[in-house]
Symmetry: C2
């Protein structure tokens, strides 16, 4: 029988009734003649609740123990969902990350899947069971329980699909992938299909539907990923290999990210050693740097700005302290009232002038941007947060998204 | 350094503040120069809450999935307690049942520990860590997560002590082992020491302080078990090998069990095959039979009565249905307004007349009993529940407990 992997996120299994509804939905597909692996996240706000318990215990809990703690959230979901299948008369088994053979390495709370020993999953599928796998978690070489970080359940699902060579369906609380976030631009269009590269770019630039890593794995192993709403039947979006039929416009989507901290370091003595020092230290503290800009040297000094995730602010403060001790005379300021806007489209590779068009729109509507960076298929701008809604509306309208 | 195992039950870790208090208490001992393994249960009512979620999903959830579900309770506790140690500046690691090498077999939700691969625990102790182990759980040969049933965390703690050849301390919400439950007889005496056999008898007869299996393991490996209150410094009770200095009275304690269902099967045709059939079927459905009594045959028929745990009522009903189909003319009645009283004392082996004394007390105070059974060191009576308090009071007083 053909196999399919279906993933349901935290809101989709946020209550006993929702778990039962998910079970019904999966069984409809099972009846069509599929062997099914279901990947689930922790119920609703469970993970946040567990993290806040940890913070009540100690300000800076060990990440190894955090993984131990938060991995219980998915374990609860898989057990309950498996019981729901059994209650409806279907054979089912739940597997934690380690039981499903999901091997990881890296930093606790941010692990990467290195391999999946798929034998246990295959065995249970062969014996006719619906296999329910805990998303977001695995086990490392030391035998510690690990978690995969934000969006980790998507990664689990797509990685399992890659091993099983089958389609992956991601059920979530939105109806699919939109050209622009419909909460910000009600006229936004839902996309029927989108290529892996565009989706990766959109995901990494802040479109919350799926995490970049999951799409990357889909791209690498050419696994079609179908994103649709959990509780409902609306047609979703298929993420697949780009082909010519999908081409139309230069710009497929517009993403917005608010989770941005802009850091400016003024008056750095201009030597390559000093510049390297700044980014070396950030890397050593696992701060992911996004957009970088630098002024032209003046009197032997430069100003450096970069953006990072606001989640890393704590680490950035630690680095700032070290830098001030080593680079005499520098000034460091942070600005979190920043939004990042990106326009994405694989058509940009062939059609020129997108950047110019966007610059013109910004200029026409009096929107200042602080930084701009480009990739092959995207252009990103940081703007003041207060201009965000205006910028989204005019760009979506002018670019017909 | 000498090793010690300390176990803290669910109420002892029932809140964030209590977890912090437990951490402090453990560290006091650590400072005295001990290597410490801490075993913890799930926080407060977590297990009950998880079970009721399962029942909301389906009336009769699979026990394999129940184990998957409820084992998360201890995993949360160990992570939080380990963080508490780290927050106080002590190196610590939490280990789930499988990570601590706890191997089990048997029925899900009622597994038995078959062995402990102690290497991982030893390694972390050697590296100077406080090792926090999840009570109540292990892993079976198939790699499934299992739980040990009621009192399972005590069993985990004593079994770890047996492997590590060290003392076990059980911290709980009572001050130690009493001759009679102080809630029923306020004048009850706390025992300084008690022998394994007496404690096992008392535990199996309903004294809620510790589970029989845990004491059995202590007895088998001669592990001293100290039972005391978690949050406080009152002296507790030491359970150890019986020695002559501990002997005094014939009777050490009086236990009461309310969790009793008395089943009577009337009018069974008197053949050994029929009697065997009754108890065979109960065994096949995993009903634990306790006290059995049978009337003398009359007109080729007998009446059989037995007691069992009220928890098994569901299974007993299933068996009753089968029996009625096979044994024509029988009548089955159940009575749950029953209490079981037992007097326990290793001195009974040497002093005779205990039974007579108790019979006389019952007779003097007009208390009827329904069944009586004896073991080497105990005598048990089933009485009507309405006479329970009266019987406890007069026995405790007359026997000077």
């Amino acid at each position: 029988m053909p196999v399919i992997v279906q993933k349901f996120g935290g809101t989709s299994v946020g209550s006993i009734d929702k778990i039962k509804a998910v079970a019904q939905k999966v069984i409809e597909r099972k009846k069509m003649g599929y062997d099914i692996v279901v990947v689930v996240s922790a119920m609703g706000k469970t993970t946040d609740m567990l993290i806040s318990m940890a913070r009540e215990i100690t300000a800076n809990p060990s990440k190894r123990e955090l993984d131990m703690l938060i991995s219980t959230g998915e374990q609860v979901s898989i057990a309950l969902l498996s019981m729901a299948f059994q209650g409806l008369g279907y054979d089912s088994i739940s597997l934690t990350g380690f039981q499903a053979g999901i091997k990881t390495e890296g930093l606790h709370t941010k692990n990467l899947i290195t391999d999946i020993d798929i034998r246990n999953v295959r065995k249970h599928l062969k014996e006719g069971r619906i296999v329910v796998v805990a998303g977001f978690q695995g086990i490392n070489e030391k035998g510690d329980i690990t978690t995969l970080g934000r969006g980790g359940s998507d990664t689990t699902a797509v990685a399992l699909s890659a091993k099983l060579k089958c389609t992956c369906e991601i059920y979530t609380d939105v109806e699919g992938v939109y050209s622009v976030d419909p909460r910000m631009y009600p006229g936004a269009k839902k996309l029927d299909t989108i290529g892996y590269e565009e989706m990766m770019e959109m995901a990494s630039l802040g479109a919350g539907v799926m995490e970049t890593r999951a799409v990357e794995i889909g791209c690498k192993y050419n696994i079609p990923i179908y994103v649709a709403i959990s509780h409902g039947n609306a047609k979703g979006t298929l993420i697949k290999e780009y082909d010519e039929t999908m081409e139309g416009k230069a710009i497929t989507g517009l993403t917005v990210s608010d989770n941005v901290l802009m850091v400016t370091i003024n008056n750095v003595e201009y030597t390559s050693k000093n510049i390297a020092l700044v980014f070396d230290k950030m890397a050593k503290h696992n701060v992911n740097i996004d957009m970088i800009s630098q002024t032209a040297p003046y009197a032997g000094h430069v100003n450096i700005s970069f953006t990072a995730s606001i989640d890393d602010e704590y680490m950035i403060d630690a680095v700032a302290k070290e830098l001030k001790a080593e680079l005499v005379g520098i000034e460091i300021c942070k600005d979190s009232s920043i939004s990042k806007l990106s326009v994405v489209g694989i058509g940009m590779m062939k059609q020129s002038g997108v950047a110019a068009k966007v610059f013109n729109i910004f200029s026409d509507y009096g929107i200042d941007f602080k930084q701009v960076t480009t990739s092959e298929i995207s252009i990103s701008y940081t703007i003041s947060a207060e201009n965000k809604q205006k910028a989204v509306t005019v760009l979506a309208k002018e670019l017909e998204l």
